[in-house]
């Protein structure tokens, strides 16, 4: 379609967004590429040494294998949970309880799950030793990492699949029953095929999360199971080799982008239907697709996982409430006292930054989503692709790239809160953008045309019509940004400064400095704040009649 750019508002808006993306996504990456592959001329010398290193070669394979395994296990577990909560006619309180527990690993700071798992299942762990008396447990390596990442990321699959399964009309299953099919057959021939796109999407989301995770392997993988993000981190911080580390990250970029594009295409082909309003169903027909035996089996599996997650987090809570877990188990509020005295600045900084991110990132996400979904301009696809680069890249590399790009005047942003805000905004706005696209897909473009026909310029239309209508997406995007700003660490570890520190960095410090009590207390605080945010957002969502978007958490994975 040949449509000239003649809209007096569209052009500046597109230019503005392009400029922002170019400045805060492309420019830092270019700086990093130059650093890595330019040594008085184009050069691969940063890479040659790495290829010889056996750990790096096996790290690539390990990373991919781990991503596939975690994707499979996490999706299976997520599917089990989704079936149980959607199809097993559980009482409301049980469903809410499962949702609350399942959200825990998703919203807790990195490291927390891994450390808790060592407490629970490690050598002399609460479950492994004190309950089962096992003495030869080895949690370090592939299995420990797999378990920890599965527990951390299966909620992404669960939230995605819950929406998918809930959207499968039970009447379809009923009609299969009416044709004389038995339960298992109905499940195999009706339910499962209908859920397949959702399952594939969940698999890709979980795999991508695993591929980018460096915190869990750092603690649990040990030397026998090197993975790429951790290797990149070690290359930079252990061998003082920034070029090598960056090169490793670029290696990681290939599978990460492949997954990302695959997942995006998947959604696009299905028209983003996992958030489509399908109208109310289910009230009329009681779901019968699960036999009592299947419900019991699912209940056992999910119950086990819920118990494990609960134990892990109770251990964290316990660690925050005693003087020194395992050494001096007397009740003490000393760690919380520290959080609210010495740690108060970090808490305050984090909250300020998280709150700053919300309107800026939310608006950016909505504007980008609107431009991509509703307007035509040259380079629209490229803009969309560029805007999600920071999301697909491992955090370490984004952090280093930002440090390189924004240290010198006129763009001397390092050391300010601004660089942290910008980093979060351009890394975690994707959820908001996707939510916007999804909401817009449900809104007839004629509504915007009506506004234009009544004499409203594009910006007026956007402000008076689009923005109010995409409020649920804006809210979802802002909630995800808040959660990420409260819990993310990989990119920002390089961006915190003398003036601006973050709670997550304090948690990491606590863990490396053996101040587990303090780390746990900080973690509990973050979890409490995020729960509060999610509760407020869910409440607001209900007020906005945005039931179709479900919990803000649904979007965390995307």
């Amino acid at each position: 379609m040949r449509r000239p750019l003649r809209d007096p508002v569209l052009l500046p808006a597109v230019l503005l967004v392009w400029a922002a993306v170019a400045l805060f996504v492309l420019y830092p990456l270019v700086r990093l590429l130059i650093l890595t592959f330019w040594n008085e001329g184009p050069s691969l010398d940063a890479v040659t040494g790495l290829v010889r290193d056996w750990t790096n070669r096996s790290a690539l394979i390990n990373s991919l294998a781990l991503a596939v395994l975690v994707g499979g296990a996490g999706t299976a577990l997520g599917f089990a949970f989704a079936l149980l909560t959607v199809r097993a006619n559980l009482p409301g309180w049980a469903r809410r309880a499962i949702d609350a527990v399942v959200l825990l690993p998703l919203i807790s700071p990195p490291f927390t799950a891994a450390i808790a798992l060592i407490f629970a299942l490690g050598p002399r762990g609460l479950i492994s030793y004190h309950v089962f008396g096992l003495t030869k447990v080895n949690i370090y390596g592939l299995w420990g990492t797999l378990l920890s990442e599965t527990l951390t990321y299966f909620p992404v699959a669960y939230l995605t699949l819950k929406a998918v399964i809930a959207n499968i009309d039970p009447n379809l299953e009923d009609s299969a029953f009416s044709l004389g099919a038995r339960r298992w057959r109905v499940f195999r021939t009706v339910t499962l095929p209908l859920a397949t796109p959702g399952v594939a999407n969940a698999f890709l989301l979980v795999s991508a999360a695993s591929l980018a995770d460096f915190a869990t392997p750092l603690i649990l993988a040990g030397t026998k199971f090197p993975v790429l993000p951790t290797q990149a981190f070690l290359q930079i911080t252990g061998l003082y080799d920034m070029r090598g580390g960056a090169a490793l990250c670029f290696l990681l970029l290939v599978p990460a982008l492949a997954i990302f594009i695959g997942q995006r295409q998947w959604i696009e082909r299905r028209g983003g239907s996992f958030v489509t309003v399908t109208g109310k169903v289910g009230a009329t027909t009681r779901v019968k697709s699960l036999s009592p035996a299947a419900v019991v089996a699912l209940g056992l599996v999910c119950g086990l996982v819920v118990t494990l997650v609960l134990i892990c987090y109770l251990l964290i809570a316990a660690a925050s409430l005693v003087r020194g877990l395992g050494a001096d188990n007397t009740l003490s509020f000393a760690h919380y006292a520290h959080v609210f005295s010495g740690g108060l600045k970090a808490v305050r900084d984090t909250l300020i930054i998280a709150v700053l991110c919300m309107p800026i990132g939310g608006l950016f996400a909505v504007v980008l989503g609107f431009l991509v979904a509703r307007t035509q301009f040259p380079g629209r696809r490229a803009l969309e692709f560029a805007a999600m680069m920071n999301y697909a890249l491992p955090g370490t590399i984004v952090g280093i790239a930002y440090l390189l790009a924004f240290n010198d005047p006129p763009l001397a942003l390092t050391g300010t809160a601004f660089i942290l805000v910008v980093c979060y905004v351009f890394r975690y706005s994707l959820a908001g953008t996707r939510a916007t696209t999804a909401v817009l897909a449900q809104i007839d473009p004629a509504i915007e045309e009506a506004s234009a026909s009544l004499g409203a310029r594009r910006d007026v239309t956007f402000r008076r019509v689009v923005l109010p209508l995409v409020r649920p997406a804006l809210l979802a995007g802002m909630t995800v940004l808040f959660i990420r700003a409260m819990t993310a660490i990989s990119a920002t570890i390089f961006l915190v400064s003398l003036d601006w520190s973050l709670v997550t960095v304090r948690i990491l410090e606590g863990i490396t400095n053996l101040e587990l009590g303090q780390a746990s207390a900080f973690s509990m605080l973050v979890i409490a704040l995020v729960y509060l945010a999610v509760a407020v957002a869910s409440f607001a969502m209900r007020r906005l009649n945005a039931g179709s978007l479900g919990q803000a958490g649904t979007l965390l994975g995307g």
């Binding site: 000239p4 045309e449 506004s451 009544l454 004499g455 310029r457």
Partner: protein
């Protein structure tokens, strides 16, 4: 609230859409037409004929690839939608779901920065006009389809547009309401005297409300004229088929004299106005409207002023005031409508009948 009508001129406008993996498709192909001040012109045609695309180019939602569009003296081809001064009524109304009826109708006025007191006055005036006084504080989802339609119209006319554009505005309403609403729209349009372009695929609707109708086919205007002109003198088989029901029967020219020609039909002949280029021996199609055919007993003989053919009744649809028959005649099917069945009786399916046609009712269609 009177608007001196504005003239709309569409001048050689074309629009092509390209789809991925397909060649470009001409949605609108060299369309030219003029809508006189205060006139209601309908673009009529089957789906995909380019009528909506033409309307959307007039509105400015689409940009023509070629040609110009003028509203009054102004060339608006390059003008943004919001500066064209139009009112657009959408097929699904496109009311702002988050605004009340009042806010919906006031939207265009507020965007134009009309002072608050005037806004109140004009909104209540126009709501009165569409028959919805007292609906100001309701939300669109609290309205019936017909009410939403009225709000959409009110919202479009309250800004006193130079041009009013309707895109199949009645297609989402049930049949009874549609008939009622089209009368109201027609009344309103006459009252406001706003130049109007109306898109529909429903010929009844088009004939009921239009001053003139432009029948479109495959991106082109097939014929333009009043409803009566189109019905009486379709210039193509397509128009003939689209406006009302029609029987096309082939005949051969026997003789051409003094602006009249004699055409052989069903063993007899009819005399019709001569068509240019017709000579004895030329084959052409004759238009026989179903209502000008009559069923007669099998034994009837052809009269001096009509022609007769024998056939078998294949189907019958009883519609109260009329009966529709299909009659098989020499392998072809003829549509016949008879009125007042209560008095004139009905013929059974399978019956052998004669079909007569008054020689004056036949019209030639140039086979082109």
């Amino acid at each position: 609230m009177t608007t001196t009508g504005t003239r709309l001129q569409i001048d050689h406008v074309s629009k092509r859409f390209s789809r991925v993996g397909q060649s470009t498709l001409a949605a609108v192909d060299d369309v030219s037409l003029v809508v006189e001040p205060g006139e209601l012109l309908t673009l009529l045609g089957p789906s995909g004929c380019g009528k909506t695309t033409t309307l959307r180019m007039v509105a400015g939602f689409e940009q023509p690839d070629d040609g110009r569009i003028y509203i009054g003296d102004q060339d608006v081809t390059e003008l943004m939608v919001y500066r064209r001064g139009i009112g657009f009524v959408f097929q699904n109304y496109a009311l702002f779901p988050h605004l009340t009826v009042f806010e919906n109708v006031a939207y265009g006025l507020k965007v134009r920065r009309v002072p608050g007191r005037d806004v109140d006055r004009r909104v209540s005036q126009v709501l009165e006009l569409v028959g919805l006084p007292g609906y100001e504080r309701r939300f669109p989802n609290q309205l019936s389809g017909g009410e939403q339609q009225r709000v959409a119209v009110a919202r479009a006319v309250v800004v006193e547009p130079r041009l009013l554009l309707f895109d199949e505005p009645l297609s989402n309403l049930d049949a009874k309401l549609r008939v009622q609403m089209r009368a109201e729209l027609s009344r309103l349009q006459k009252q406001l005297a706003i130049t109007t372009v109306y898109v529909t695929h429903d010929q009844d609707e088009a004939m009921a409300i239009s001053d003139r109708i432009a029948v479109m086919r495959q991106g082109r205007i097939a014929q333009i004229g009043t409803a009566e002109e189109l019905y009486r003198a379709p210039r193509s088989e397509f128009v003939a088929q689209f406006i009302g029901r029609v029987n096309l029967v082939e005949g051969r020219v026997l003789d051409v004299t003094g602006g009249r020609m004699t055409v052989a039909l069903w063993g007899g002949s009819v005399t019709v106005a001569a068509e240019p280029g017709c000579a004895p021996g030329t084959r052409l199609s004759l238009i026989l409207r179903p209502e000008s055919l009559t069923l007669v007993p099998e034994t009837t003989k052809a009269g001096a002023t009509d022609v007769l053919v024998l056939g078998t009744v294949r189907s019958r649809t009883f519609l109260g005031e009329k009966v529709e028959y299909t009659v098989e005649v020499a392998g072809a099917l003829l549509h016949v409508v008879t009125y007042d069945p209560a008095h004139r009786g009905v013929v059974d399916v399978g019956a052998r009948v004669g079909v007569t046609c008054s020689a004056a009712a036949a019209r030639p269609l140039t086979s082109s």
